[in-house]
C-alpha cells in the first residue's frame, strides 16, 4: 500500500500539466452548480422565515420578498394563544421518554446479542433483521388495531410504548459492541462482576459515540414522527407538533390562506431538531448513513 502511494505521488505532481487549464474551468462550473443548488436548498427556508413575520396580505402579494413589510409577530402571538404550546409540550415529553427508552433498551439488547452467550441468540438476531425489513407504513392499521384491543388507544402510553424500542437501534448498538475489545470485560468478570454490572459500569461508558448517535437518531425520529401519532390518538389535547401542524394545514383557524401562521408553526417545530443537528452534525452524518444501510 505504502509503495503504491509513493509511486503515485510524483505522477500526480506531473499529471496536472494538461488538465490544468481545464481544471480551472471545471472548478468554476463546479462552484456554479454548488451555488445554484445551495440557493434551491436554502431559499425555501429563508422565504419561510420571512413569511412568518409578514402580514397575510403581504405574504400573498409579495411571496418572493425576503424582507417583511410591515414586520409583524402576529403569527407567533396567535400560535401562543392557540394550542401550539400544548403540542410543543406533548412532542417534547414523547420525544424525551422515547429517546431515553430506546437508548437504554436498544443498548441492553445490542449488548446481549453481541456478547452474552445464550440459546436462541442467533434466531433473535435474525428476527431483528427481519423486523427491520417490515415497511413502517404497512403497520399503520395493524398498530391501531392492537392499541385499540389493549385499551391503549388515545393515551400517552399508546403514543409512547410502541416506540420505546426499535430494531435499527439494536442493530447499531450490536455492531458497536462487537468492535469493543473483550479484554476489559474479562477483567471485570474475573473480579466477580455480574453481566448487568459489567454492562452498566464497564461497557456503557465506553460506548459514548454510539450512544450519542442513537440518542440523536431517536430524538429526531420521535420528534418528526407523524403516522404513529395519527393512528394512536384522536383527542386534540394529545396532538403532537406533527399532527397539530398537519391539522392547521387543513385549515381550522378561520378564513384566508393563513400562510404566515402555518409557516411560523412549521418554523418553530424545526428549531429543536435544527439545534441538535448543528450541534452534533458529525454524528448525524454517521448515523444517517449507518441507519440507512441496515434498512
Amino acid at each position: 500500500m505504502t509503495t503504491t502511494t509513493t509511486a503515485a505521488k510524483p505522477a500526480s505532481a506531473a499529471a496536472p500539466k494538461r488538465p490544468g487549464r481545464r481544471g480551472g474551468l471545471g472548478r468554476v462550473a463546479g462552484y456554479t452548480v454548488l451555488v445554484v443548488f445551495a440557493l434551491v436548498y436554502i431559499y425555501p427556508f429563508l422565504i419561510q422565515l420571512a413569511t412568518s413575520f409578514k402580514t397575510e396580505a403581504d405574504s400573498t402579494a409579495h411571496p418572493l420578498a425576503l424582507w417583511p413589510d410591515p414586520v409583524t409577530t402576529a403569527a407567533f402571538s396567535r400560535l401562543a394563544e392557540a394550542d401550539y404550546p400544548r403540542w410543543f409540550l406533548n412532542s417534547f415529553v414523547v420525544a424525551l421518554v422515547v429517546t431515553a427508552g430506546r437508548v437504554f433498551f436498544d443498548s441492553l439488547a445490542g449488548y446481549a446479542l453481541a456478547r452474552l452467550r445464550f440459546r436462541g441468540r442467533g434466531a433473535l438476531f435474525a428476527a431483528v433483521i427481519a423486523v427491520m425489513a417490515v415497511p413502517g407504513v404497512v403497520l399503520l392499521i395493524p398498530k391501531f388495531l392492537v392499541l385499540n384491543q389493549f385499551g391503549m388507544y388515545d393515551s400517552y402510553s399508546g403514543m409512547i410504548v410502541p416506540l420505546l424500542a426499535d430494531a435499527a437501534g439494536v442493530f447499531i448498538m450490536k455492531q458497536f459492541f462487537e468492535s469493543v475489545p473483550v479484554s476489559v470485560e474479562e477483567a471485570a468478570r474475573i473480579d466477580g462482576a455480574g453481566p448487568f454490572r459489567i454492562f452498566w459500569s464497564v461497557v456503557l461508558p465506553m460506548a459514548r459515540p454510539a450512544l450519542i448517535t442513537l440518542t440523536i437518531l431517536s430524538f429526531q425520529g420521535s420528534w418528526n414522527e407523524l403516522p404513529h401519532f395519527i393512528v394512536s390518538r384522536q383527542s386534540p389535547e394529545l396532538n403532537t407538533l406533527t399532527t397539530g401542524v398537519a391539522s392547521l394545514v387543513s385549515g381550522q383557524l378561520g378564513s384566508g390562506n393563513q400562510y404566515p401562521l402555518k409557516l411560523a408553526a412549521a418554523l418553530l417545530m424545526t428549531v429543536p431538531v435544527a439545534l441538535v443537528f448543528f450541534a452534533f452534525q458529525r454524528h448525524f452524518v454517521r448515523g444517517g448513513t449507518e441507519g440507512a444501510v441496515k434498512g
Binding site: 503504491t4 509511486a7 510524483p10 505522477a11 500526480s12 506531473a14 499529471a15 488538465p19 481545464r22 471545471g26 463546479g30 436548498y41 425555501p44 422565504i47 419561510q48 400573498t60 411571496p63 418572493l64 439488547a109 449488548y111 446481549a112 452474552l116 452467550r117 445464550f118 440459546r119 436462541g120 441468540r121 423486523v131 425489513a133 415497511p135 407504513v137 404497512v138 399503520l140 392499521i141 395493524p142 398498530k143 388495531l145 392492537v146 384491543q149 410504548v161 424500542a165 430494531a167 439494536v170 473483550v182 455480574g194 453481566p195 454492562f199 418528526n224 407523524l226 406533527t242 398537519a246 409557516l263 412549521a266 417545530m269 431538531v273 452524518v285 444517517g288 448513513t289 440507512a292 444501510v293
Partner: protein, 390 residues
C-alpha cells in the same frame, strides 16, 4: 467475532472455582449468562412482539374479515369473508378496484420519477462535492443534507406555500412570462398534457385507448402520467431525500483509492472515461443500495400526501398507503384497508427480491469481467506506467 465470544468461556472455568463459587465450571457461568441474555433482550422483544408481530397477525385476520370498526375484531358479529377484500380490490369491478388501481398508477409514476431523479441529483452533487481543492465543502454538504433531518410535516407546509397558486414558483415563472398552474388543484396528467400539446384531442381521447380498460381504469387513464399536483410532491420529495443519498455516495467516493483514478489519468483516460470506467463501477454497490432504498421508500409515501393533498385533486395523488389509511379510518372499511396494506407489503417485498436477484446475476458477471480486466491490466498496462512515472 466468534473468536471474541468464545474467549471468555475458555478463560472462565479456571477463574470461577478460584473465586470460591459453588457452581459447576462453565455451566454456572453459561446459565447465568443465558438468563441475563434473555433478560437483556426482554424489553425490546416485548415491544417489538406486541406492537409489530402481533399487529401483523391481527391485521391479517382483519383483512380476511368484514369488521367495520365497531367493538373488537374478534367479536361475535364479525364474519370471515376469506379473500373477499382482496378480490374486491384486485378483480371485482367496482369503486374499490378503481380506487386501488388509481392509487397503484399514481404511486408507480411517482416512483418512476422520484427514484431516478433523486439518485442522479444525489450522485451529481456528491461528485461535484468530492472535487479536490474545493472550498466550503462543509457548508454545501450541510445545506443539501439539512432538509433530510427536518420534519416531513414542516417541509410539506413550506412547499405548500412555495407551490401555492400565488406562491414562490408561480411568481418566478411569471417573471419569465410563464403562467404557472394552480399546482395542488390541477389533476391533469403530464403525459396527457404532452399529448395535448402534440395535437391529440384530450377531451375525446383515441378510442383505442379510451375504449379498452384494465383493472377498472381505461388505458387512456393508465397513461395519464403524474398529475400536476403530484409533480409538486415529486419535487418536494426529490429535494428532501437527495441529501441523504448524496452522503452515501460521498462516503463511497472517499473510499475509492486516489491511486486508481490517478492510474487511469496517467493512462490517458479523459474525465468522462474516468467516471464511466473507473468511478462508476466502484460506486456500483452504493448505487444499488440507493436504488433499493429509494424503491422501498417511494412505495411507502404517506406523510406528504396526508399533509399536502389527501389524495386530491381528482384522486390523482392517492397512493396505496394513503388509501389504506383512508379506507380504514374514514370509511370504516377496515378489511379493505388491511388488505391494501398487505398487498403493498407484497409489492415492496417482491420488488426488493426481484432487484436483488437481477443485480446479483449482473454483479457476478461484471465482477468476473472486472477481475479479468484487472488481471490483464496488471500484466500489461499499469505496471510499466508506474515504472515510467517513477
Amino acid at each position: 467475532m466468534s473468536a471474541g465470544v468464545s474467549a471468555p468461556a475458555v478463560a472462565a472455568p479456571p477463574s470461577a472455582p478460584s473465586q470460591g463459587r459453588g457452581r459447576g465450571p462453565g455451566g454456572g457461568i453459561r446459565g447465568r449468562e443465558g438468563l441475563a441474555g434473555w433478560l437483556f433482550v426482554a424489553p425490546v422483544l416485548l415491544v417489538l412482539g406486541l406492537f409489530l408481530v402481533v399487529p401483523i397477525a391481527m391485521a391479517l385476520w382483519v383483512s380476511l374479515s368484514d369488521w367495520q370498526g365497531q367493538g373488537s375484531p374478534f367479536g361475535n358479529g364479525v364474519g370471515f369473508v376469506g379473500g373477499g377484500n382482496y378480490s374486491e380490490l384486485l378483480t371485482t369491478p367496482g369503486l374499490a378496484q378503481t380506487d386501488f388501481m388509481t392509487s397503484l398508477r399514481n404511486n408507480a409514476y411517482y416512483v418512476l420519477f422520484v427514484v431516478p431523479l433523486q439518485t442522479v441529483l444525489a450522485l451529481g452533487l456528491a461528485l461535484v462535492l468530492n472535487g479536490k481543492r474545493l472550498k466550503g465543502k462543509g457548508f454545501f454538504r450541510t445545506a443539501y443534507y439539512f432538509p433530510s433531518v427536518t420534519s416531513s410535516v414542516a417541509v410539506s407546509v413550506v412547499f405548500l406555500f412555495v407551490f401555492s397558486s400565488s406562491g414562490v414558483v408561480n411568481s418566478l415563472l411569471a417573471k419569465i412570462g410563464v403562467d404557472g398552474p394552480s399546482w395542488f388543484a390541477d389533476p391533469r396528467g403530464v403525459v396527457h398534457l404532452l399529448l395535448g400539446g402534440l395535437g391529440v384531442d384530450t377531451d375525446a381521447p383515441p378510442a383505442a385507448l379510451a375504449g379498452r380498460s384494465l383493472g377498472g381504469l381505461t388505458l387512456w387513464d393508465w397513461l395519464a402520467g403524474p398529475s400536476v399536483a403530484m409533480c409538486a410532491i415529486i419535487a418536494l420529495v426529490v429535494w428532501t431525500t437527495a441529501g441523504t443519498f448524496m452522503l452515501m455516495f460521498l462516503a463511497a467516493l472517499q473510499d475509492i483509492p486516489v491511486e486508481v483514478e490517478e492510474a487511469a489519468e496517467i493512462d490517458g483516460a479523459g474525465r468522462w472515461q474516468r467516471f464511466r470506467y473507473v468511478t462508476l463501477p466502484m460506486l456500483r454497490p452504493t448505487l444499488f443500495l440507493v436504488l433499493t432504498l429509494g424503491l422501498i421508500g417511494t412505495w411507502q409515501v404517506f406523510d406528504q400526501i396526508y399533509v399536502m393533498s389527501q389524495g386530491a385533486p381528482g384522486k390523482t395523488t392517492l397512493t396505496p398507503a394513503y388509501l389504506s389509511y383512508q379506507s380504514s379510518f374514514n370509511n370504516n372499511e377496515w378489511g379493505q384497508g388491511s388488505a391494501i396494506a398487505f398487498i403493498l407489503f407484497a409489492i415492496i417485498v417482491a420488488l426488493t427480491l426481484v432487484q436483488r436477484f437481477v443485480l446479483r446475476d449482473k454483479d457476478d458477471g461484471r465482477e468476473r469481467a472486472a477481475v479479468r480486466r484487472a488481471a490483464k491490466a496488471a500484466r500489461s498496462g499499469t505496471g510499466p506506467t508506474a515504472e515510467v512515472s517513477r
